[in-house]
Amino acid sequence: MRFLLQRTAFYLFTAWAAITLNFFIPRLVPGDPVQSLISRNQGRISADAIESLRVLFGLDANENVWEQYLHYWGQLLHGDLGLSFTFFPAPVSTVIGDSLPWTVGLVGITTIISFLLGTALGVGAGWRRGSWVDGLLPATTFLSSIPYFWLGLVAIALFAGPGSFFPSSGGYEPGLVPAFDQYFIPSAIQHSILPAATILVSSMSGWILSMRNMMVTVSSEDYITVAHAKGLSERRVALSYAARNALLPNVSGFALSLGFIVGGTLLVEIVFSYPGLGYQLFQAVGAKDYPLMQGIFLIITISVLVANLLADVAYLLLDPRTRKS
């Protein structure tokens, strides 16, 4: 319990750091982005919206930085992330709310599958060290060195195209309305297979390798020798003795590298024009839509923190030693 409280405190601190970072970044933007937006949309912006954008960019000359900071927090706690420039009168929170489920569905599920599958394969590769499996390791290195987005491009070139089962872009059939019904769900799944496979292929090999190395290290421990000497079956020694212990560092490694993985997988969305946060971020960058960019960064960071907390809970369940103290 103490462990969990400590971790939670740390994540709250990180969230605070990310929000503060988010507060300062727009203050580096040269010029007055709000003014240019106002002049572009003459008379269509309400006074409230202008006020909220000015707070976001720190353009209110009457406040000092500290007051601006408090004001920013107040706005944030009301869920107000400002207005999106590209999707003009829509607030950033609505735009993000629309795309978040897509990212959680694609990136979240694929990352977990990739971890589980990679770990399982790593157990096999580590236990059978010195067999033909070792010959495959360089191939997995090559796969993990390929940028996600390039693999996506190749996948589109090879598998998608006119008349193919796999669509090359989008999250669902254009004519459908997002809903949980028999038309939309299959279409969404069909659109997600290719991006998911891309992420899986290039992210899995890292887990295979780290799990293999942990298995190799663990399998020379004395308790493994004892388990063998007791005459336990090979399978039992491999899974309940070696893999059980080799798993722990891999789980904590998973928690720590979530930030890296999520950053990389968001790019796959860009290539497939998948309507998630990554694609939204790409569009926001292209249109210099600063409020949307910051909102997305904030949401990604907070999602990663929540995922980290969940990984910590999983670690707690797996490692009895953390529960004892």
């Binding site: 060195s145 390039w150 491009l153 190799v216 979530l258 910051q294």
Partner: protein, 349 residues
């Protein structure tokens, strides 16, 4: 301290005394090149060397000016244009050669910066301990958990047309955390070793202990952290160029992919436009990863892929060698084979 002959004799029977007279220079030489003797590391280093060579001479040996347009629009690879041409008739082979420099420079600069930061923060936190350690590890954990790539994208997008140097600085400043964490953990374990205690007891200054006692023992970790950061920096730079954030006037492989994507190279079937750049990135990444494996296996020999682990025993069964296990090769222990007898005799003698 002249106990070496006897101790070698104990470890490797029958070798110590014979090898003694001329052993010193030969052994030293072998130790020097032991890292390169690892096949993975050697392959990685050779490929990396070729990339570095192209980074230096690329712009001079490129057959065309990468910006020059020509009449050969969207041509498949041929003898005149090895990797084909773009929609403006630019030679893609030249673009890749010229782009190598930017990729390598950003990778190295960001790698060096991140490594220096990680040494400063990680080793200080590990060695000094206490409140400074708490603060510095919290800082590095925060940087570790915050998704680096979105942060890099946002910071870079604020700067108009960021140059290579700036991109390298931004990447270096955001990607040091992993190295710092690993270094801190290792420093913590080194700090209480006897030789460090001895140095402290003889009155060596703190900076001297850190620089001369602890840092040399962190070399492998620092090197692998550096290689890892270079991989990450190269990927990030290419990603930034691919999204179109960093300057698109200078060439790197991401820029090529940016134009290929923007001009619908896929829909036009122009595979040669994006395949070479992607393979170049993947090969560089593989080379760096292989060097990292080499370092890992150098430090912890257990990770090496063992050669042949299936061995035929005398009675025709096969036994799989396993770490920590000694397969019994002889069918029955009561009838020692001649081979076993001689070795035992050797040991006794």
């Amino acid at each position: 301290m002249t106990i070496s002959p006897s101790s070698i004799e104990q470890v490797i029977p029958g070798q110590g005394a014979m090898a003694q007279p001329s052993a010193a220079p030969g052994r030293a030489k072998r130790r020097q090149f032991r890292f390169i003797a690892n096949a993975k590391a050697a392959t990685g280093l050779v490929i990396l060397g070729i990339y570095c060579l192209f980074a230096v001479i690329g712009p001079w040996v490129a057959p065309y000016n990468p910006d020059a347009r020509s009449g050969d629009v969207l041509q498949a690879p041929s003898l005149r244009h090895w990797f084909g041409t773009t929609h403006l008739g630019q030679d893609i082979f030249s673009q890749i050669l010229v782009g190598a420099r930017s990729v390598m420079v950003v990778g190295l600069v960001a790698g060096v910066l991140a490594t220096v930061l990680s040494i400063l923060i990680g080793v200080t936190a590990g060695y000094i301990g206490g409140a400074a350690d708490e603060g510095l590890s919290a800082l590095s954990n925060v940087f570790l958990v915050i998704p680096a790539l979105p942060l890099i994208i946002i910071v870079t997008s604020i700067v108009e047309q960021a140059s290579d140097t700036l991109v390298a600085l931004i990447i270096g400043c955001t990607s040091w955390a992993w190295g710092a964490r690993v270094l801190r953990a290792q420093t913590l374990s080194l700090r209480r070793r006897d030789y460090v205690e001895a140095a402290r007891a003889t009155g060596e200054r703190t900076w001297r202990i850190i620089l001369f006692e602890i840092l040399p023992n962190l070399t492998a970790i620092i090197a692998s952290g550096f290689v890892g950061t270079v991989i990450f920096a190269v990927m990030s730079e290419i990603t930034l160029a691919f999204i179109g954030i960093s300057s698109i006037s200078s060439w790197n492989w991401g820029t090529i992919l940016f134009w290929a994507q923007g001009q619908q190279a896929l829909a036009q079937g122009a595979w040669w436009w994006f395949v070479p750049a992607g393979l170049a990135i993947a090969l560089l990444g593989t080379a760096l990863a292989l060097i990292n494996f080499g370092i890992d296996e150098f430090v912890s020999p257990r990770l090496r892929s063992a050669g042949r682990t299936r061995i035929r025993t005398a009675d025709g069964r096969t036994v799989r060698m396993r770490v920590g296990f000694t397969p019994v090769l002889a069918p029955t222990p009561s009838v020692p084979t001649p081979r076993a007898a001689t070795t035992r005799e050797d040991v006794v003698r």
